[in-house]
Symmetry: C2
Subunit: 300 residues, 2 copies
């Protein structure tokens, strides 16, 4: 089934204790779409500036990603983010943020995108998500990501958005911040009172969990020693998860667990290289080989 | 097969954000033995003072725990520990420690205990563990727990002990401290160079992992919202794990994973009550009912 994502597109400058890369392709939409594309076709909506290299458009097309929702602003400059990871490769400091064309992003969905059955509102201003939803008719499943920034500065818009989505994806610290709860499970359950029918909590190296009124699923992270660049792991996790759900077209218990597992596996590949580098070396078969390995490690 | 544990026995005073209990039975050996006793017989070695109530000895006996290795020091006072948990129920501050008879503990193993096939050296001074091992002939499996204190103040003894054991159980922060590694998986693997053939890393609410030269297993924690008292969770985890391994008598892949799962489940029960309270309400059947539930949540 069709999977649509609306999200940010960025040129990232990333410094880790080992290396530094400047102006590499990043942002929630590219990570999400690339991760999801291993499981089926994806439609991407986002905005970039005149500095956007045509080769990136080609790269997405070759991966089965429909980029007809990519808006290129004449004279504009693409969103830029710069960050530096600390020794533990988990904590990072943002060094610079230049919103550029993302600051005035008004998603405009091509006609065919408006009938998407599975929709993901990748991390972005809640008002952007709401503007996108206004254009979508009768999706089977709408899932959104959010982050601390929007909980802090756009809580009212976020509360409206929460009532219009089926699922919310966020970090454990953000789930606690959103609810005031100190226990992750309690926080996830409390979010169900704010609107979503299910919540997926990303715990980084500690895995993820899915909570709905009657269900609770837990998956550990894939054990990765060689973390090269953690940027985009959360968006990749969501991409793998939503890509698999869209490919199955249901939310049955086994589908959800396997979607969490696939999200975990693609995120595990993602962090093994800078930006989208590692994705260019793998395919669905390689992901499935790791699934066999992961099942041996973590299924009982 | 026979499982022997040498560890501390304490009277704990515990304060949580909700309640406070004074002088309740605690220490690594009671938590470990009680948790292990759901899977088979356990032999316990430890030291207490003249203030030891006979009813505790009875309680252990009724649970199938052989307490003939319990030394009661005439005129002595049992080890006392006092701690206060913070709001998040994970971090705690030690308010008071009175070693008392534990300060001069020289484990003396009854003759029959010396032929134990499975041995666990619960958290204690590495020299105590070494003294116990001197008395044990040809055990099939020796596993030890350790903690930051011994890494800091008894590193030489600990290094000797590490070369005489088959497996080490410790927290993730302790694994990192012991090796200087920042990644949990890398830290666990590096410990294999110090002597043990396998390492089990306890990650509290984030689960646990087992690492040997060719194996890696990961199990999430059982999702518990109602944490009443986290004291003893790590010792209970080790007890459930070792109890199940001793009941199976092998270290095959499926045994190890299920041992991690059983350790997880008994630790999950443990934290639902103060001290050993919750254990008195459950049995193996109840643990197995939760296993069915846990498999539905986390096995894929």
């Amino acid at each position: 089934m069709t999977l649509l994502v609306i999200g940010s597109i960025a040129f990232d400058t990333i410094e880790t204790p080992i290396a530094k890369r400047e102006n590499i392709l990043g942002g929630s939409a590219p990570y999400f779409t690339y991760a999801a594309s291993f499981f089926g076709p994806v439609q991407m909506v986002g905005v970039v500036g005149e500095d956007w290299p045509e080769e990136y458009t080609e790269m997405f097309r070759k991966q089965g990603i429909d980029v007809s929702g990519l808006e290129i602003v004449p004279g504009g400059k693409t969103f830029r983010w710069s960050g530096k990871y600390r020794e533990n490769m988990n904590d990072r400091d943002t060094l610079d943020t230049q919103l550029n064309v993302l600051g005035h992003f008004q998603p405009k969905l091509p006609e065919i995108f408006r009938r998407a059955q599975f929709v993901f509102l990748a991390n972005g201003a809640p008002s952007t998500g709401l503007a996108a939803l206004e254009q979508i008719q009768g999706a089977d499943l709408v899932v959104a990501d959010t982050m601390d920034l929007w909980i802090n500065i756009a809580r009212n818009d976020l509360d409206v958005l929460l009532k219009r989505i089926d699922g919310l994806v966020l970090n454990d610290s953000e789930a606690k911040m959103l609810t005031g709860e100190l226990n992750t499970i309690s926080a996830a359950k409390k979010i169900l009172n704010l609107g979503p029918k299910f919540v997926v909590v990303k715990k980084g190296e500690h895995g993820s969990l899915f909570v709905s009124e009657y269900e609770l699923y837990l998956i550990p992270a894939f054990p990765t020693e060689n973390v090269v660049d953690p940027t985009g792991a959360g968006d990749s996790f969501a991409g793998g998860m939503m890509g698999y759900i869209a490919s199955q077209g249901n939310l049955e218990s086994e589908t959800i667990k396997k979607a969490l597992v696939y999200g975990t596996l693609v995120a595990g590949f993602c962090v093994e290289g800078f930006g989208l580098d590692r994705y260019k070396e793998i395919n669905r078969e390689e992901i499935d080989r790791r699934l066999v390995l992961f099942r041996k490690m973590a299924s009982f």
